[in-house]
């Protein structure tokens, strides 16, 4: 089985995941800010599965293949409308005051999110370093 050729703009994927991680950070910050607010319900952000699904669109390109052994060409994946899902968990109760924020859990998400954000921004930096490398090496 030949892998279909799909054009995905790497920068778009990096941008969208950095945006989603920043949103997740904001939501965790808000959860922890409201740790002592009665009746407050925590929110969670999910985007990984959605992003994965958005990158897996296998719509055939309108380009013709003149031979069945040619690589199949697929359409460009657009992430313009991609947005992380923010969900408020209204159905759980953590404490007597109706607040369901768990400090340990939020700290865990915060640490994980921070690491992910740092690694994604590192990858973005490398992407630009590659571009710069291509530009400067081409000059010589």
């Amino acid at each position: 089985m030949v892998n279909p050729i799909t054009y995905i703009d790497p920068l778009a994927v990096l941008q969208k995941s950095l945006d989603a991680l920043a949103t997740q950070h904001q939501v965790v910050a808000n959860n922890l800010a409201n740790i002592d607010t009665p009746q407050f319900k925590r929110s969670i952000v999910s985007f990984q599965d959605k992003l994965k699904a958005a990158l897996n669109i296998n719509e055939p390109s309108p380009l013709w293949r003149t031979h069945p052994m040619h690589f199949p060409i697929y359409q460009q994946v657009s992430l313009d409308n991609f947005k992380p899902d923010i969900q408020t968990l209204n159905d759980t109760i953590g404490r007597n005051d109706g607040n369901n924020v768990d400090m340990e859990m939020e700290s865990g998400i915060l640490a994980e999110n921070n690491l992910l954000y740092n690694s994604m921004s590192d990858v973005t930096s490398r992407y630009f370093a590659n571009l710069r490398h291509a530009i400067s090496e081409g000059r010589q």
């Binding site: 950095l18 920043a22 950070h25 904001q26 965790v28 910050a29 808000n30 922890l32 800010a33 409201n34 740790i35 002592d36 607010t37 009665p38 407050f40 929110s43 947005k83 899902d85 923010i86 969900q87 408020t88 400090m103 939020e106 700290s107 915060l110 640490a111 999110n113 921070n114 954000y117 740092n118 921004s121 590192d122 973005t124 930096s125 630009f128």
Partner: protein
């Protein structure tokens, strides 16, 4: 884009929580300081106070699409203190006929402040403050990391 949205929103969210927790700490300190105050300007003993927290919402209309995902009031952007409430519980009556504030039966009305409860609240406020400091540092490290993209 105001301070309540975008990359710098978590700073504002955390700052609101730090302010709220500090105010809570001030109120707790005041309660402990006045644990034995038997007379006030309003008359009667000091009455224990407590802060009331509520989520803060972003009123900016630019967040309309995100708002629909959250709550009808908008994207939550931190916490705010809606007020300082008086504890309605009864004062502590101590028999001390020699006290200048003693009533006809010889009982003195002491504030309804339980120092142990205040201490527990104080620990809770400290921990919440520390958790928000952690968030603040994480936000700062993320913002610095983002600034380094492309360097």
């Amino acid at each position: 884009m105001g301070a309540l949205s975008g990359v710098f929103a978590p700073f504002s969210i955390t700052a609101s929580a730090l302010t709220a927790e500090r105010l809570r700490m001030d109120v707790i300190s005041n309660n402990i300081a006045n644990a034995n105050t038997t007379r006030t300007i309003q008359g009667g003993p000091y009455i224990r106070q407590r802060v009331v927290f509520a989520p803060r919402f972003d009123p900016s209309p630019s967040f309309a699409p995100l708002m629909s995902m959250m709550t009808p009031e908008g994207l939550p952007v931190g916490v705010r203190v809606v007020g300082i409430q008086k504890d309605p519980s009864a004062p502590r009556m101590v028999y001390d006929p020699g006290h200048p504030d003693a009533n006809a039966e010889g009982y003195v009305a002491y504030p309804n402040v339980n120092t142990v409860n205040e201490m527990v609240d104080m620990i809770s406020a400290t921990r919440a403050y520390e958790a928000n400091i952690t968030v603040f540092n994480a936000t700062k490290s993320m913002a610095l990391q983002a600034l380094n993209i492309g360097k």
